[in-house]
Amino acid sequence: MCVPDLERKSLEYRKKILKYIKHASAGHTGGSLSCIDILNVLYNQILHVSPQNFSDNNRDRYIQSKGHSVEALYVVLADQGFFPESELETLCQYQSHFIGHPTRKVPGVEQNTGALGHGLALSVGTALAGKMDEADFKVFTLLGDGELAEGSNWEALLAASHYNLDNLVVILDYNKLQITGRNKDVMNVEPLLDKFKAFGLAVREMDGNDIASIKATLEDVPFESGKPNLVIAHTTKGKGVSFMEDSVKWHHGVPDDAQYQQAQEELDKKISALEKLESK
């Protein structure tokens, strides 16, 4: 898929994320909008995974460690045909499989996540199995930045490097905000580049809200033979909706009717602008 098509998809995904969060009156709005471009490129461009090959042990894996941004994942999985999108109308309702964190009861979800600091070790184990079996699949995981305060991540990075897991791709959704405020005020995680390099990882930085940048970076995996791949994706929390961007209050804020209307209109305008650009 070409960059403009993916860009349009991202806008449509954003509209849907807001639609289902509004419908459920719950959700992690800011984080879902922050990581949606990454998920878009992963599922539409990079991952060898589909409803047809999901039981194939050689499929690529995507494990979402920052499980709370689940609305982004659900919207993309629906678009990939794992389940009818209409099922998302049950999000967070009594007995719905579509709960507020990824669960394997939803087709296409690899692991039950939600408690932070778990996805990376799961991904390391999965990638290790791939190495043991000399299989071709890759394992992608998405971490939040606030999540990096969990020590389990650093245990897992040690192991990833020790076992030379160049089939592992760790993507950090680095929007610099967490529920209490800015990472640097809550618990400073910097200097990240130095830390990750010191752990023996092959590190790249990208604009995690720019399709071309994401595509170019992820298509270049493995960055270095024998080293786990780590991508620092600089993102903006709440990306795409003016009043939600870089604002901690939208971590799990739900728009009221007027805000919802405004957000959808902003996104519609961006879609129209893209269409005009394409028709030129």
Binding site: N57, R104, E110, Q111, N112, T113, G114, A115, G117, H118, L120, A121, L122, S123, V124, G125, T126, A127, L128, A129, G130, M132, D133, G151, S152, E155, A156, L158, A159, H162
Partner: protein
């Protein structure tokens, strides 16, 4: 009833440590199945897995001293179809990595076999940091995990073999002392307690390495008082053998449970909870480690201190019968 199950306990054949049987069984299984993987947290020595590592270097994964990572990585491996045994001292495995067990193994249904070595007070003199007296209680409160404490070499081998082929998560814990074969009876099924000694006046339902002192106590009572006490090895704590418990409650007026675990939340409370809610009210006593700062010493000294010994159990049985 199998007459051999009433063999005098002091004449029971002494076996190896359950730990050693575990290691040997795993090597036998690994030889047949390249998909079997052992994961250790700097614990291959204490897990008697050095020979395993030498014979099957491609089937062992070391994660260093990092139990959370041990369980997370084990879950990832298991998700690809590997038969995974994650081996670490029970104290760390079930406390440090409790959330990984709850979420990555049990909730995510990644069929890891968690092996808690040197369980209970096997590391008696090393103190509470190294005791696992909470593991039954903690894991009983987690959905989708089978909990097994084998009493002897036979039960250990059977449990390990069963777990290796099970699509569900297991927690199996044992100690490192030599254990006698508690019975000639070769019936074993996960979730089914084994009657290892017949009796009439009372029944002792024990688990893991307390089955042996329970048998010694039963012998002692028969020899000194002519009282015949039955003993059950309740190797599986979850799912609990409620059918057997129902039968026992119908037959015996007195029931004691014995476990190398805190009295809170373990075998005793599992049994009493079932019995009380199903209309049974035998005279009932839970023997285990009380809710206090645990004394230190050898495993046997700690057992003696808290009455999980031939004399201690026999004396409790007598009190219960007399009252």
């Amino acid at each position: 009833m199998n007459s051999q199950i009433n063999a005098e306990t002091s004449k029971l054949k002494m076996g190896s440590p359950n730990l050693e049987v575990f290691s040997n069984t795993l090597q036998n299984l690994a030889a047949e199945d390249r998909n079997l993987v052992v994961v250790t947290s700097d614990s291959r020595g204490s897990g008697k897995l050095v020979p395993f590592g030498e014979k099957f270097p491609k089937q062992i994964v070391e994660v260093g001293i990092a139990e959370q990572n041990l369980v997370g990585i084990a879950a990832g491996l298991a998700s690809t179809g590997k038969k995974v045994f994650a081996v670490s001292p029970a104290c760390f495995l079930t406390a440090r990595s409790f959330e990984q067990i709850k979420n990555d193994v049990a909730y995510s249904d990644n069929p890891v076999n968690l092996i808690g070595i040197s369980a209970g007070v096997s590391y008696g003199a090393l103190g509470t940091t190294h005791h696992s007296l909470h593991d039954f209680a903690a894991l009983r409160a987690v959905n989708n995990i089978t909990i097994v404490a084998p009493a002897d070499n036979f039960e250990t081998e059977m449990a390990i073999r069963f777990a290796a082929h099970s699509p569900q998560p297991f927690y199996i814990r044992f100690g490192k002392k030599n254990m006698p074969f508690i019975s000639e009876n070769k019936d074993f099924e996960i979730g089914k307690g084994r009657l290892v000694r017949n009796g009439k006046a009372a029944v002792i339902v024990a688990t893991g390495e307390t089955v042996y002192p329970a048998l010694l106590a039963a012998d002692h009572l028969e020899k000194t008082k002519g009282i015949r006490v039955a003993v059950v090895s309740m190797h599986t704590l979850k799912p609990l053998d409620t059918k057997l418990l129902t039968d026992l409650a119908g037959q015996f007026p007195v029931m004691l449970t014995v476990e190398e675990h805190m009295v809170n939340g373990g075998l005793g409370e599992a049994c009493s909870g079932f019995l009380l809610q199903n209309g049974f009210a035998p005279k009932f006593k839970i023997l285990g480690i009380p809710d206090e700062y645990t004394v230190t010493g050898s495993q046997l000294e700690i057992f003696d201190h808290y009455g999980i010994s031939e004399k201690g159990i026999a004396s409790e049985v007598l009190k219960m019968i007399d009252n």
